[in-house]
């Protein structure tokens, strides 16, 4: 009824795709790290610009992770397959860590440039709301014991939570903000970055994406193992 029969077929060994994604991701991250260190300093902020390669890569993959969590939550509600719930939870968790990494990098950068670590302006406020919603997502998961109820409630939060992503992304365009608009400006189709900096950013973005994909698969796999074990125990 709860789909245990499917879980029994869950892989008991890590698949090569997951291992490959993680290995490739960390290899590309090393290249990205090197490129970030040889990229030229910015004419205004000097070497502080290097925080960008972490900050923007973490922000984008964080958004991606939350969107994927929402999509798999939708899949779950349509099919009731616990595997989709596990992928959704795995993606949301990694998205939360990536968002915290993004905020940490942003704060390190904001202190020497703006003059403060944190300020309640539209972009930062909408990010705070987004992070609070996904902390709430995990509290929902902890608060509900029945697996099916838990998965349904969590799916609702994950789907509604996606609304945060366009709001957060567009906040710097919709409202007056101290946060600069995107340097790779998708809205106006312009790139405001020197080629060497852009290259370093894109390589780091690729690395973060590969590592994200690998970690979602790894988390999903671990959750499947756990569900299998709990299924036997119960």
């Amino acid at each position: 009824m709860l789909g245990w029969e499917r879980m029994e077929t869950a892989r008991t060994r890590l698949d090569p795709v997951t291992v490959g994604l993680l290995a490739l991701g960390f290899a590309v991250l090393l290249i990205g790290f090197y490129l970030a260190l040889v990229a030229p300093p910015d004419q205004q902020q000097g070497y502080l610009v290097r925080i960008l390669y972490l900050h923007v890569a973490a922000a984008w993959t964080g958004y991606l992770a939350f969107v994927v969590a929402g999509i798999y939550a939708l899949f779950y509600l349509f099919t009731n397959r616990p595997a989709y719930d596990r992928v959704s939870a795995a993606s949301a968790e990694i998205g939360l860590w990536l968002s915290l990494l993004m905020v940490l990098g942003g704060m390190m950068w904001a202190r020497p440039t703006w003059g403060v670590y944190w300020v309640w302006e539209p972009r930062l406020t909408s990010v705070a709301v987004m992070i609070a919603v996904y902390v709430g997502y995990f509290l929902v998961r902890q608060a509900i014991e029945d697996p099916e109820m838990r998965a349904k409630a969590a799916a609702a939060v994950a789907i509604l939570g996606v609304i945060n992503i366009p709001i957060t992304y567009m906040s710097v365009y919709w409202w007056r903000s101290i946060h600069q608009t995107a340097s790779i400006d998708i809205i106006n189709r312009k790139v405001h970055m020197a080629p060497a900096m852009l290259e370093a950013l894109l390589v780091n973005l690729l690395a973060f994406t590969l590592i994200y994909l690998g970690f979602v698969r790894l988390k999903g796999y671990l959750a499947a193992r756990q569900a299998l074990k709990e299924g036997f125990d119960g």
Partner: protein, 142 residues
């Protein structure tokens, strides 16, 4: 046993609600420009406001001994003399976008918090600079 998670959830829901209805509402108009202020000064009378604009070239006066900083903030139309106490942030310079928190007293804006807005454009120092000049630029940018 799950009660503590429900309490936590309630706290988070409260925080999100507060941020959206209280915080976001206030921060949506994060700063006003000098022109907007002078359109309706009565509206902001005696209130703390955030004034945003560009630091007018050639108007910065800073005394490191008393930490007194004076400059003219402009939005291209209206200019406001700003008095601020404290070390300016590293990137504070002429023609830079800034947001000052404080109050008007007469025609002068007294700021107690100064934020520098960074542009979204990232460029290395211009071609033809010697490494020494680049290092100097970076030192100045710090």
């Amino acid at each position: 046993m799950r009660l503590k998670y429900w309490i936590g959830l309630l706290l988070i829901a409260g925080a999100v609600g507060y941020l959206i209805w209280g915080g976001l509402g206030k921060s949506l108009v994060y700063f006003i420009t000098p022109s907007e202020y002078f359109q309706d000064p009565a509206k902001y009378a005696g209130k703390r406001i955030r004034l945003g604009g560009i630091v007018k070239a050639g108007t910065i006066r800073y005394d490191p001994k008393t930490l007194k900083l004076e400059f003219v903030l402009t939005d291209g139309v209206t200019e406001v003399p700003v008095h601020h106490r404290g070390t300016p942030p590293a990137l504070f310079k002429e023609r830079q976008g800034v947001v000052v928190e404080g109050k008007f007293r007469g025609k002068v804006f007294y700021g107690d918090n100064l934020l520098v807005k960074h542009s979204e454009t990232y460029q290395p120092p211009k071609e033809g600079y010697t490494p020494e000049e680049v290092r100097k630029l970076i030192r100045e940018a710090k």
